[in-house]
């Protein structure tokens, strides 16, 4: 019996390994789920892991290796820097090897450029791009009158830059009274102690910090804040990542850390809660990538629709596809730029009520829903001009 192989190309060693491994386990869990339901078009799904060490060039070597093994679907998420290179590679590869096309499913790299100027027919993104998230976040911040002085701190690479530029322009438009008192960029995954940055934030008199930091760059930032007793509100993209909740609890920032994302465990939605329970029963982490669930389920749906697992046909089937997303509500894969649109949620971490059954990292604290932005409100325009196969 034939299998549908998906190459998982993400860091499994080095600084990014901790999140890369969680992603891998999530996908393996999802593959098992699909297989239990009979797989894709009756074929078993298998995730094959490739270690890219968060390095664009290494990713291309691994992608090439995957293709050489006959794999036609690649998935990657950790790092927009890698994503850009991979998308470019896949586009060129498909152009030069007609009939042997491969698809690239992006589950987490959110640099907007990937579905704008540098969009590609072969690239599909299930995560909301950075601009969409910032739009949602600033819409909420607009209403929080307590915010006066905002400090931006981000990782020095494409994603961090897009968070920073979007934050600046959107805040300026929506809340011109807010002052940006700091705008910091720091090296990606290289800082061991954020104390100097915290001192700077403190000295700036900020009451709010906006950051796209992820992985250890978030956990360590919060840890340093906790040590120094910095009390501000945090608007984040990835506070839920490994070590994040623990650090938030340590800093005792009860419902002062906000996160924008496409879902949380504590949504009042039966199926996703069931899924969360099953995942936690097996692994000691919570679902960090709800979009990966959508991605895998939509792959199965698209293959069904196309009655084939041929990449080109699957791609065409995915275009414009409507889908009931994992956390509830409607989503759709926009044909113009292959960006998936779905409801976006803003949540905060802290004490739970009985409405929030799940805690995070055994801290006792959990995510509480603050605001929901419907799919329609997240539709930002795109500049993508896609070259499609004839």
């Amino acid at each position: 019996q034939e299998t549908v192989k998906i190459a998982y190309i993400d860091p499994l060693s080095g600084g990014g390994a901790s999140i890369g491994e969680i992603g891998l386990k999530t996908f393996q869990f999802l593959a098992e789920e699909l297989n239990a339901k009979g797989g894709v078009l009756g074929k078993k799904v298998e995730i094959v892991a490739f270690d890219n060490k968060t390095n664009p060039q290494e990713s291309l070597i691994q992608a090439q290796k995957a293709i050489d093994q006959g794999i036609r679907i690649l998935t990657q998420g950790n790092g927009s820097s890698v994503a850009g290179a991979l998308s470019d590679f896949v586009t060129k590869y498909n152009e030069r090897n007609p009939g042997k096309e491969v698809l690239y499913f992006n589950y987490a790299a959110v640099d907007p450029v990937l579905t704008n100027d540098k969009c590609s027919f072969w690239h599909f993104r299930w995560d909301a791009n950075s601009d969409i998230k910032m739009e949602a976040l600033t819409n909420y911040m607009k209403t929080a009158t307590a915010i006066k002085n905002v400090y931006l701190i981000n990782q020095d690479y494409s994603f961090g830059h897009s968070v920073r530029t979007a934050a600046k322009s959107m805040l300026a438009a929506k809340r011109p009274d807010i002052k940006i008192v700091g705008d910091e960029l720091h090296p990606l995954l290289k800082i061991t102690d954020f104390a100097p940055y915290i001192a700077k934030i403190k000295a700036s008199g900020a009451d709010t910090v906006v950051t796209g930091n992820w992985g250890q760059d978030f956990a360590l930032l919060l840890k340093a804040a906790a040590d120094a007793g910095l009390k501000v509100s945090w608007y984040t993209y990835y506070a839920g990542g490994t070590g994040g909740p623990t650090a938030v609890k340590q800093a005792n920032l009860n419902h002062q850390v906000f996160q924008v994302g496409e879902g949380i465990a504590n949504l009042d939605n039966k199926p996703s809660q069931e899924f969360e329970k099953a995942l936690r029963a097996k692994y000691d982490f919570s679902l960090f990538y709800p979009r990966a669930v959508n991605q895998m389920r939509m792959l199965a749906a698209a293959a069904d629709k196309a009655k084939s697992i041929d990449p080109v046909k699957v791609a065409l089937a995915l275009e414009g596809m409507e889908f009931d997303v994992f956390n509830g509500g409607k989503g759709s894969m926009r044909k113009d730029d292959h960006q998936f649109f779905q409801p976006i949620y803003i949540s905060s971490l802290g004490d739970r009520t009985e409405k929030e059954p799940f805690d995070e990292e055994k801290t006792g604290w959990g995510w509480k829903l603050i605001a929901k932005i419907d799919t329609a409100q997240t539709m930002l325009p795109t500049t993508c001009k896609m070259e499609r196969p004839k």
Binding site: L12, S13, G14, G15, A17, S18, G20, E21, I22, D156, E184, L185, H186, P187, K190, T192, D193, A195, P196, Y197, A199, K200, K202, A203, Q216, A219, L220, K223, D227, A228, G229, L230, T242, G243, T246
Partner: protein, 315 residues
């Protein structure tokens, strides 16, 4: 402003002392055995993980004692069964040996403790703010780190000055046979030095583990900077390493605290250059280049004062 200066000085000194804590072992090994021990940071990591595990079982204070002993024993074994055999093939061979070792140690740590950070906490007896300035808490644990660094500095300095071991090792670097003929057991001394050096790294690990992250990639983040400390300070000079650690800690911390850039000083660049490399240079802030400061220092030192800050030997 004053607040930032005071805080940065504090943070800088602290970071510097942490560097020293790690670099002291490397100085001992590097200067005495001439081994560029690329696995030094790995022993630092082992110290942190051993410390984590032992403090789970017996508490932090026993861990602070046992973990370095374990790591030191491991280091001694590495010297005895590995490095010693490689020694005669020269420094490059030794260096690659430790390279390989660093790889292996990292993977072993990942196998045992996983790739995600472990929850290594500051002991509750030290988990309180030592003092508060400018409404910022200064954790007692950091004061403790400072104290340990200084104690280690003092103890090492005294032992190095007062014992003959330093002399014997230095002599053995050039003429190991001769040292043996004079009745000194060179092998045992090398083993001891390596063991002590790695144990020092492990002390740093146990102490820094709870303050920073304890994760399988923690070694890679600190490796090269330790060499910078040792070389800038001057090979073989412990006070030099101390001074260099402080210097680097302060320089880096202050650089982070500064927002100055050419565009800040001379006004924004004309938009004609917006998409050129000139714009990059124009707009980069001092804070952004903070991480490369130590290397600038290294290159400058090697060009203008090759023996390092307080060193006597030419590298």
């Amino acid at each position: 402003m004053l607040e930032l200066i005071v805080m940065s000085t504090l943070n800088g000194v602290l970071y510097g002392m942490l560097l020293f804590l790690m670099a002291s072992g490397l100085t001992v090994i590097f200067s005495m055995l001439g081994v560029l021990n690329f696995a030094h940071a790995s022993f630092y990591m082992l110290g942190a993980f051993f410390g984590f595990q032992i403090s789970r079982w017996f508490g932090f204070w026993p861990a602070l004692l046992i973990a370095p002993l374990l790591a030191g024993a491991l280091g001694a074994a590495v010297e005895r069964y590995g490095l010693r055999r490689v020694h005669k093939n020269g420094h490059v061979a030794e260096l690659l040996f430790t390279f390989g070792l660093a790889f292996a140690i990292e993977e072993v740590v990942q196998i045992i403790w996983g790739k995600s950070p472990v929850d290594f906490r500051v002991p509750s007896s030290l988990d309180f703010p030592a003092f508060t300035i400018f409404s910022t808490n200064y954790p007692a644990y950091k004061m403790f780190m400072l104290l340990v660094s200084i104690v280690i500095f003092a103890v090492l300095l005294i032992t190095l000055k007062k014992t003959r071991i330093g002399l014997i090792v230095q002599a053995a670097l050039t003429h190991p046979h001769m040292v043996g003929h004079l009745g000194h057991n060179v092998g045992r001394i090398f083993m001891l030095v390596f063991g002590v050096g790695t144990a020092l790294a492990a002390v740093a690990g146990v102490i820094a583990g709870p303050a920073l992250v304890t994760q399988a990639n923690m070694a890679g983040l600190l490796g090269p900077i330790l060499f910078v400390v040792v070389v800038v300070g001057g090979l073989g000079s412990l006070p030099g390493a101390f001074a260099a650690s402080l210097l680097i800690g302060l320089v880096q911390t202050f650089a982070v605290s500064m927002n100055g850039s050419l565009s800040g000083a001379f006004g924004p660049l004309s938009p004609d250059y917006a998409a050129t490399w000139l714009a990059d240079i124009w707009n980069v802030t001092i804070a952004q280049i903070a991480p490369i400061m130590p290397y600038v220092l290294l290159v400058l030192i090697l060009i203008f004062r090759p023996m390092g800050l307080l060193g006597t030997r030419d590298t």
